[in-house]
């Protein structure tokens, strides 16, 4: 009698295992056709589901308002809008993709993050509606459209423009005897010494989660490695990372970290470091253009900072072998689920979201740059943001964030190594060895 429960449990276990073994996990296979009917719907009715990563109270209201405005303009349509935070989004979207529960429209970062959805057949080919030659495509910045290009097709609708710049306090520079932005990377290093002498931390740098270092390395990789080599190495199936430019980039980053930046940066968040720039203790801060608004009076900065800051692109090292006009950054965007029954309606909603009126409202309300051309005007933005737009338009290409442009394992090897470079526990050669080993593993599994 005592054996009964054990036998029953064993039987149950075997039964469950057998049931569980019925199907293999994960995506069944990459869909050969990621095309959906995108022709403008004659009658607009139904529900569109959309998920964003903009739950931050500074950004969420804009998307809520756009959804409400679309519903008002199209009474037969309901927009089911879900907004989650940046980090939870990464979990949620994977679970939704795995369980085939993707909404009609979903957020995506540019680079391999988007490409994974494309390869798995989870992103609709939008070339016919947003290609550069289409009516909608012509309203967009070509560089922004290009970042969502894969195998010659366009899969993403860019929603913002973002690029990384070095903001500097003009008063601090004057006090240190510096006339303006450094012309080269070497000049930047020598300027740091002058700023230290003037009692400033030259560059406010918080690297608690690793990505701020990655942004420097993204830019330095673009400067030191030829674009074709970069493109080949950032592709999971062909990545080798053997070009000597990669070690040079890491060496330059380590020099910068040790000469110019905050001590103990790995233990400091980006926001904490940013606060030291805002309150005038640090002279420079490497930040994204979407963060520019925190340096304004409206964004809460004191007048002493708000009235005396400018910015420059991280200067290229002399004689670097890569593209000196590439600029770190990328647009964020939305993808459309090719299995969506409302794909055409979803595209119509995205057209509405990126029309001139909504694009101007995005710039005004959130302080982001929009990929819609002509959306940043004197009335809805501040001078530095318009200058940033000019710099973006003048850049030869976007150097897309290293942690999204390449395979996640390779990005993690870089992330971990960059932290080691900051605290001095690793050398550039050691970091690249780990990156190369990971890239080889990914190459083999992709092959």
């Amino acid at each position: 009698m005592k054996r009964t429960p054990i036998i029953a449990l064993a039987c149950a276990a075997v039964g469950l295992l057998a049931i569980g073994a019925c199907g293999a996990p994960g995506a069944s296979s990459a869909s050969s056709s990621a095309s959906a009917n995108l022709a403008s719907p004659t009658t607009k009715t139904g529900t569109i589901s959309i998920i964003t990563k903009f739950a931050d109270p500074r950004y969420a209201p804009y998307f809520v308002n756009v959804a409400k405005a679309y519903e008002k303009a199209n009474p037969g349509v309901k927009v089911d809008l879900q907004q989650v935070g940046d980090q939870p989004y990464k979990d949620k979207i994977r679970v939704l993709a795995s369980s085939k529960q993707l909404p009609d429209i979903y957020f995506s970062w540019a680079g391999d993050f988007t490409n994974k959805f494309v390869r798995a057949g989870l992103a609709a080919d939008l070339t016919s509606v947003i290609g550069p030659d289409t009516e909608w495509g012509k309203t967009m910045s070509p560089a922004a459209l290009k970042t969502f290009q894969y195998d010659g097709k366009y899969y993403g609708v860019p929603i913002d423009l973002d690029a990384k710049f070095m903001a500097y306090n003009t008063a601090a520079f004057a006090k240190a005897g510096l006339s303006g932005a450094p012309a080269s990377f070497e000049d930047l290093l020598s300027d740091c010494a002058k700023l230290k002498n003037a009692d400033y931390t030259p560059i406010a740098f918080g690297n608690q989660y690793g990505w701020p270092a990655i942004h420097y390395i993204t830019q330095l990789n673009a400067y030191n490695v030829a674009p074709d080599t970069l493109s080949k190495d950032y592709t999971p199936a062909t990545g080798e990372f053997t070009d000597p430019g990669y070690v040079k980039a890491l060496t330059q980053f380590q020099q910068l970290a040790h000469t110019c930046t905050t001590k103990g940066a790995n233990g400091l968040s980006h926001e904490s470091a940013q606060a030291t720039f805002i309150n005038g203790k640090s002279a420079m801060h490497y930040l994204e253009s979407v963060e520019f608004s925190v340096l304004t009076k409206q964004g809460g900065a004191p007048a002493s900072t708000a009235n005396s800051w400018s910015f420059f692109q991280l200067p290229a090292p002399s004689g670097a072998a890569g593209d000196a006009k590439a600029l770190t950054g990328a647009p964020d965007g939305f993808l459309v689920n090719p299995q969506s029954k409302n794909a055409a309606l979803a595209v119509d909603f995205l057209k509405f979201m990126t029309n001139q009126q909504n694009a101007q409202q995005l710039v005004k309300q959130i302080g982001w740059l929009s990929p819609v051309q002509g959306s940043a005007t004197e009335s809805n933005t501040f001078p530095q943001l318009r200058q940033a737009l000019d710099k973006i338009n003048g850049a030869s290409q976007f150097a897309v964030w290293l942690d999204t442009v390449t395979n996640a394992d390779v990005a993690n090897a870089y992330l971990s190594g960059a932290e080691g470079l900051v605290d001095g526990s690793q050398t550039p050669e050691q970091v690249m060895k780990a990156v190369q080993a990971t890239a080889k593993k990914i190459r083999n599994s992709a092959g």
Binding site: A12, A13, L16, L17, G20, A21, A24, P25, G26, A27, S28, S29, A30, K90, D91, R94, V95, A97, S98, K116, F117, R119, A120, L122, N207, Q208, Y209, G210, T262, K263, G264, A265, N266, G267, L268, S269, S272, T276, A408, D409, N412, L415, S416, G417, E419, G420, V422, D423, S425, Q426, S445
Partner: protein, 294 residues
């Protein structure tokens, strides 16, 4: 009612609980093991790889570092949350006046009701290398050379997280020990006093053996908790810098949701399950053998 029908009746009563356990506990455990035999993620078709994911774990230095961090976490937690908490509870019950005792119990317990996320952020401020209270305090007493970027250096990151976790948990376990000590008949202590036993002798000869069941429970919970730890690390360092504060939970999460290695993450989950299961079984067996009957 016959014996047979009574037996079936019993099964009927426990059936709902069994079904719930089977669906929400046993099935996920078994299915997780099955998933660990595949290479899969949300974006690509799965293929069977046998025990490759376990081989990967065996050769992965970060996995071993995470395991080492979990083990350190468990050892320190045992010392603080079981050893120190028991001593604290005994001192509270034996030496502290009853009015003050209540206040102290509340003070010790307060950290346990603070959300782990809030506590993590709070300690991130304390450990801040520029404005943190820890470095400021060290500088104030002339120990400048002891200051660190506590969460930013591989040598101090894990220790700093463990310290925060102990701060949060000691009060909770101490209160549980207080409850256990209060159940011990006072006559035992009075008899020991008559026989000339001092407080320390009373502690080791009466308190420790009489709270053995609570101690065992605490040991199981503490060790299991140490191997399941996730929130503290995720909030304070996300496993960095350079993976120095990775624990099995964060390494699992990172592989599953950031690096798209779901099969490998499932293998790590299986390892965590096996470790905690074995520890629980060993503890239960040992307790049964040593149970003290009142």
């Amino acid at each position: 009612m016959t014996t047979k029908s009574r037996a079936w009746g019993g099964w009927l009563w426990i059936a709902p609980a069994l079904v719930l356990l089977a669906v929400f506990v046993y099935y996920p455990i078994l299915d997780n093991f099955r998933l660990s035999l595949y290479s899969w993620n949300a974006f690509s078709p799965a293929h069977f790889v046998g025990i490759d994911n376990y081989r990967t774990a065996a050769q992965d230095p970060v996995f071993w570092r995470a395991l080492r961090n979990n083990t350190t976490f468990a050892i320190v937690s045992l010392i603080c949350q079981v050893g120190f908490s028991l001593a604290l509870a005994a001192i509270l019950e034996e030496f502290v006046h009853s009015r003050l005792r209540g206040i102290l119990r509340t003070i010790y317990f307060i950290p346990a009701v603070i959300s782990i996320t809030v506590a993590g952020i709070l300690f991130s401020f304390l450990y801040n290398p520029q404005i943190g209270l820890v470095n400021r305090a060290l500088e104030a007493v002339g120990l400048d050379s002891w200051t660190h970027s506590w969460l930013g250096e591989p040598s101090t990151a894990m220790g700093s997280i463990i310290a925060m976790s102990q701060w949060q948990s000691i009060g909770y376990t101490a209160v549980l020990f207080v409850v256990a000590i209060q159940r011990i008949p006072r006559e035992y202590y009075e008899a020991a006093k008559v026989d000339g036993a001092g407080p320390i002798r009373q502690f080791f000869s009466i308190t420790v053996p009489m709270v053995r069941e609570m101690t065992t429970l605490m040991v199981i919970l503490t060790i299991s908790g140490a191997f399941l730890v996730f929130n503290e690390v995720q909030v304070m360092t996300s496993g960095g810098p350079s993976n120095s504060s990775q624990v099995l939970g964060t390494w699992l999460y990172q592989n599953a949701f950031l690096q798209d290695n779901m099969g490998y993450a499932s293998a790590i989950a299986t390892v965590i399950f096996v470790i905690t299961f074995v520890i629980a079984v060993v503890q239960l067996v040992v307790t049964r053998k040593r149970r003290v009957e009142l």
